[in-house]
Subunit: 160 residues, 2 copies
DNA sequence: AGCCTTTCGTTGAATCTTCAACCACGACCC
DNA sequence: GGGTCGTGGTTGAAGATTCAACGAAAGGCT
């Protein structure tokens, strides 16, 4: 199954791959730091709040939330617990499926996301969108759409 | 300094930005998992070993290492400690600057990286390069080169 | 009904990262 | 020489994420 002689990355592939790796760590670190400094939110927390704010009635099932940000369920459980402790989200059990739990944005949560969003978007522009040609950024979108498709279709085989 | 009415992302910017976010988390998770499953290395550890393997004499100063992967010094200290515990890297103090510490790939470390690299590169191709048009991927490189430049030039202001 | 399998979500421990404080040394200045 | 400041690196605790195990409910199947 595995090839003998790997196809190493050529010079430009290598360069682009590394640029992506370090650029991404710098970008994520910076967006995270900005959110923490000004709004006491981590980037993952922010992403969760955004999903909730867009959801009908500001509430979502845990599993749906996990899928939409591509985090593990365990991780979402912990994140929601922190947000709940901070008063930004509340949990309630689901009517139709008694296993289910719904996370719901509180009024404080709605306020928090509305406060944070403008700064966050400004960061995304300043550190990313403003620097990139529109077509180049569209290419980024295409590439990572394909990546998501591929990895959602073919998850890691988990031998058990 | 901050605008009143933020320039929200338009539909396609929004789409591309989210595709990048979730695509990146899926991609990083998968590359990390593959490395752990088959080679007992995390992706950050792998990246460190690669830098060392490319360095002259297979050794590098801690600060240089930290810069080259864009991790904090503290993080590199911990990572190198783990790698040292695993016998893949050794530390030695630097001759010219007595504050300095050099990390050096051991024979076992060299062997580990040579074992892991083909699988890792195969993953990078399968989950990313093979899915993307060459020009699109080149665009990714350009975009994140620009991001790195911007964020290295303008680090977060740290009020003290 | 009973049984088996899958899904939903949580838990607590292990692992990894961040954070703040710290020491040792070098560089510069006087 | 004696300050002062910045840099290089480490430390341990706090915080976040992963991991493995689990209980509860749903969905088949016979």
């Amino acid at each position: 199954m595995s090839e003998r002689t790997p196809r190493w990355l050529n010079r430009s592939e290598q360069h682009a791959w590394r640029a992506y790796l370090v650029g991404t760590t710098l970008l994520m670190d910076r967006l995270d730091r900005d959110l923490r400094d000004k709004h006491d939110l981590s980037l993952p927390e922010y992403e969760i709040l955004v999903r909730l704010s867009e959801a009908e009635d500001h509430r979502m099932r845990m599993a749906m939330l996990a899928d939409s940000v591509s985090h593990s369920r365990s991780r979402v459980t912990h994140t929601i617990s922190r947000l709940e402790r901070a008063g930004l989200v509340s949990r309630s059990s689901c009517a139709s499926d008694r296993r289910g739990v719904e996370a719901c944005l509180t009024e404080a949560g709605r306020a928090a996301i509305e406060r944070a969003a403008p700064d966050h978007v400004r960061g995304v522009r300043e550190y990313l969108l403003d620097l990139a040609d529109d077509n180049d950024f569209a290419a980024v979108g295409r590439v990572f759409d394909a990546v998501s498709d591929q990895l959602v279709e073919n998850p890691a085989v988990d031998i058990r």
